[in-house]
């Protein structure tokens, strides 16, 4: 009897666990949708094309934030992806080398690394010497955050390429560079691109690395050496203000950010299920 009861309680516990994990997610998604959609409807297209309104004034939008996120993710990709892909190739191609084992561990550690420290670091070595917050400084911080994700995905994709292809290529007398870039990387393309997208999706939602690097911009859009806004950064600042219209903007921005994230993430994740 007691055994049976214990078992029942245990199964109940499992079900409750599942509920306790999923409920917050659904609640967060629901909150962002429920608070964000009315804002977008109220502000209309201007929400995406206008700049910050004055406190308690109607209208306005989050254009400088979207622009800044776009510029910084783009620059971060330019800096981070080549580095990350090459590092991934190194680890995949020389798996037994001590250095490459160390690199693998380092990449795993970097993934778990507190991102606020990356921001502080980039402030010390880029922002203070250059004398200005800038999109470039933000992008460099983001590229460091992005690096381990892209490198690890690249490595895994490269390693999953069957050995026969590479051996065949070597048998034809091709040099290693050619084999890696024109054979292995081509076959591993899908995995690598997945890594790139995951990395980009990840950093487009990062806030902490940007607080002391990008500087933020409420009304302007500019070049790489000027301060820039970002969607997550705007949300972080807007929620700390007492104005109702700023809170509305924050919810709307959160909705935009979430849709953007899901639009990249879900297709990738679902395609993994199929294959």
């Amino acid at each position: 009897m007691l055994r049976e009861l214990k078992n029942k309680v245990f199964i109940l516990y499992l079900i409750i666990s599942a509920f306790l994990v999923l409920f917050p997610l659904l609640h967060i998604l629901f909150s962002v949708f429920a608070n964000g959609i009315p804002v977008l409807l109220k502000f209309g297209m201007e929400f995406l094309t206008e700049t910050l309104p004055a406190p308690n004034k109607p209208g306005g939008g989050i254009f400088p934030a979207i622009y800044g996120t776009f510029v910084m993710v783009f620059l971060a990709s330019l800096i981070g992806i080549p580095l990350a892909v090459l590092a991934g190739i190194f680890v995949a191609e020389y798996p037994n080398n001590a250095l490459s084992k160390a690199t693998r561990s380092l990449l795993l550690i970097m993934m778990e690394f507190p991102t606020i420290l990356v921001g502080l670091f980039v402030m010390a070595i880029i922002v203070l010497p250059l004398g200005s917050f800038s999109a470039l400084a933000g992008a460099i911080a983001l590229s460091i955050v992005m690096l381990p994700y892209v490198a690890t995905y690249t490595e895994q994709a490269m390693r999953s390429v069957p050995q026969q292809y590479k051996e065949g290529a070597y048998a034809l007398g091709l040099r290693k560079v050619r084999v890696v870039f024109s054979i292995t990387l081509k076959i591993a393309k899908k995995g690598v691109v997945t890594g790139l997208l995951i990395g980009m999706a990840k950093v487009s939602g990062e806030t902490a690395p940007l607080i002391f690097t990008a500087g933020n911009a409420w009304r302007s859009t500019g070049g790489a050496l000027e301060p820039a806004g970002a969607v997550p950064l705007w949300i972080y600042y807007l929620v700390q203000q007492p104005y109702a219209n700023y809170h509305e903007l924050a919810w709307g921005a959160a909705f935009v950010l979430m849709v953007f994230f899901l639009a990249i993430f879900l297709p990738i994740r679902l395609s993994m299920v199929r294959s």
């Binding site: 078992n7 967060i28 909150s31 590092a87 690199t103 806030t207």
Partner: protein, 299 residues
């Protein structure tokens, strides 16, 4: 050595260089405060900024305490439900339905942390403050509930928010290890005529290292999380045993104070030394987590 390898070496060197340079930057910038205060920067709870450098004194003990306290709350909440969900997915669900539960946890793992933050400040903290008031009014003789804090911004709010954020990592690690238990063991255990509860207990004991690693890595994540926590922790230099007290974490201290640090002589150095502490705590926790994984062949 082939040419290709020589071509790649600088890239790998750069990756290592970033981390080493980071450690150097944090160490160098911490020197002034160490020279001035010695270990007191980590062992006292004082935050005295002064226009004259002689008056300044900083001790970040409250932030270190808050970091460990909130992360511990997060783990205590997260661990049981992470294990529960892992077992639920692998044992109770048919294969076809599993993805319906795995995909949401993957979404949670990747979701921008600021979304947890906006939810925490506008939804979680206000709803917790009601519960906190009730517990304080009726059970304040229990030390954990003994702090009157009507704001909702507290160790507890931060801990719960962190628990929600780290559960996906812990559960997916544990799930993968649990599912990887060879089917011979499974069949052997069930053939003994054990109930599901008893069988699961035995099976879970096989993957203890994975559970330990999941715990360590989740703890490492919780320690480093910044924006969501800084919005709900209350930002007060406080060391208190009650769950309801407001506090600081190292990362929220940096996020909050660094903007005005440079007008003071020693505050930047104090905050870099806080960063150094975070760096080292994070490193030790994460490396131990990864070592456990390696040692038991999970990674």
């Amino acid at each position: 050595m082939d040419k290709f390898k020589i071509f790649l070496l600088p890239v790998v060197g750069l990756v290592f260089g970033i981390i080493i340079l980071m450690l150097i930057v944090f160490s160098l910038n911490s020197i002034p405060i160490f020279q001035r205060e010695g270990i007191a920067i980590y062992t006292t709870n004082i935050w005295k900024a002064g226009e004259v450098p002689e008056e300044e004194f900083y001790g970040i003990l409250a932030a270190i305490y808050g970091t460990l306290y909130t992360s511990t709350i997060a783990i205590l909440i997260s661990l049981p439900i992470s294990v529960g969900l892992a077992v639920f997915i692998s044992d109770l669900l048919p294969k076809k339905l599993r993805e319906f539960f795995i995909i949401p946890t993957d979404i949670m793992a990747g979701l921008p942390t600021i979304l947890y933050g906006i939810w925490g400040i506008f939804v979680l903290a206000p709803s917790l403050s009601g519960m906190m008031k009730f517990l304080y009014d009726n059970f304040s003789f229990i030390p954990f509930f003994s702090y009157y804090n009507p704001t909702g911004f507290s160790y507890l709010s931060a801990g719960i928010l962190l628990a929600i954020m780290v559960t996906p990592f812990a559960t997916s690690l544990i799930r993968e290890a649990y599912m990887a238990i060879p089917s011979i063991y499974r069949e052997a255990v069930y053939s003994l005529g054990l109930t599901r509860y008893e069988a699961t207990k035995v099976l879970l004991s096989y993957i203890k290292p994975a559970i330990l690693a999941g715990t360590l890595l989740a703890f490492g994540r919780a320690v480093g999380e910044t924006v969501a926590v800084s919005l709900v922790i209350g930002n007060a230099f406080n060391i208190h045993s009650s769950l309801f007290a407001p506090g600081y974490t190292i990362s929220s201290l940096i996020a909050n104070q660094f903007g005005n640090a440079f007008i003071y002589e020693f505050m930047p150095s104090a905050l870099f030394s806080a960063g150094l502490a975070l760096f080292l705590i994070g490193l030790v926790v994460n490396v131990s987590g990864l070592l456990v994984l390696k040692r038991w062949g999970y990674a």
